[in-house]
Symmetry: C2
Subunit: 149 residues, 2 copies
């Protein structure tokens, strides 16, 4: 099967497949005489596995680790559990940060009604005013929750 077929079956772009290969998430396949990549059914499975993990917002680095772990059936799967736990924790922190952000923005939006002029726009006032004081903490925690580690 050629790269276009593989990509169609997994629902990804052809370029994405090549990118995954470059990143070591997919193994480099055999090549035809003309240099075309040649895939089998196993590759469809692996790529779809990768896409499912990505749909859960896992990083490619985590997915690589997961694939490495999945390769050895005799190993204890505590590492898999730990990886998922850590990921879950990151998602949780990010959600809390977004919730705080939404509250902040809702409050900000309530400062200005339609029909006003910039000169007395409540939102800009609030933003400038807040700029003189201390910044809100929500984005710091959002940024902290972004760092994959």
């Amino acid at each position: 099967m050629r790269i276009g077929d593989l990509a169609r079956q997994a629902g990804v772009d052809v370029q994405t497949v090549r990118y995954y290969e470059r990143e070591g998430v997919l193994e480099a396949p055999a090549r035809t005489a003309a240099g075309y990549r040649s895939y089998g059914a196993h590759d469809v499975e692996r790529l779809t596995f990768v896409r499912h993990c990505r749909s859960l917002d896992m990083s490619l680095a985590d997915i690589k680790r997961l694939l490495a772990l999945a390769g050895d059936a005799t190993v204890a799967c505590d590492d898999v559990n730990a990886l998922i736990d850590a990921h879950l924790e990151r998602i949780h922190a990010k959600r809390l940060a977004l919730e705080a952000l939404e509250v902040q923005l809702g409050a900000l939006r309530a400062q200005c009604s339609s029909g006003r002029r910039i000169a007395n726009c409540g939102i800009l006032e609030e933003l400038v005013h807040a700029a003189h004081g201390e910044a809100c903490a929500c984005h710091q925690s959002l940024a902290a929750s972004e760092e994959q580690g």
Copy 2:
């Protein structure tokens, strides 16, 4: 005031100030004979305003628009309201997507207990199994909520 002082007062890195200037978020300041950037109190205010908007996770493009709008006091501030509304909507969608993701991951994590081997790890089973069926929709909506409009 030199760039280091400005950066300290706004709580950002010196490189970030130069980056903002390059991106047109901050105006290019006057230079000393030696080529050093020279700032005034107004620049501290503007930079701190930018940082507050960033703490609300607004894009630099949005902040530029906001600054342009804020420049003309006589204009109606419906555009400001619309910008904040759109941003709020993105944050809201992102939070919903993250909530769904958290549920999905929680369910996945519950599939495997400690002490098992990879061969019968419930998480990997679930991930492979799900890979054969259709993927969950949570990341699609997350991705959709990422695209800044």
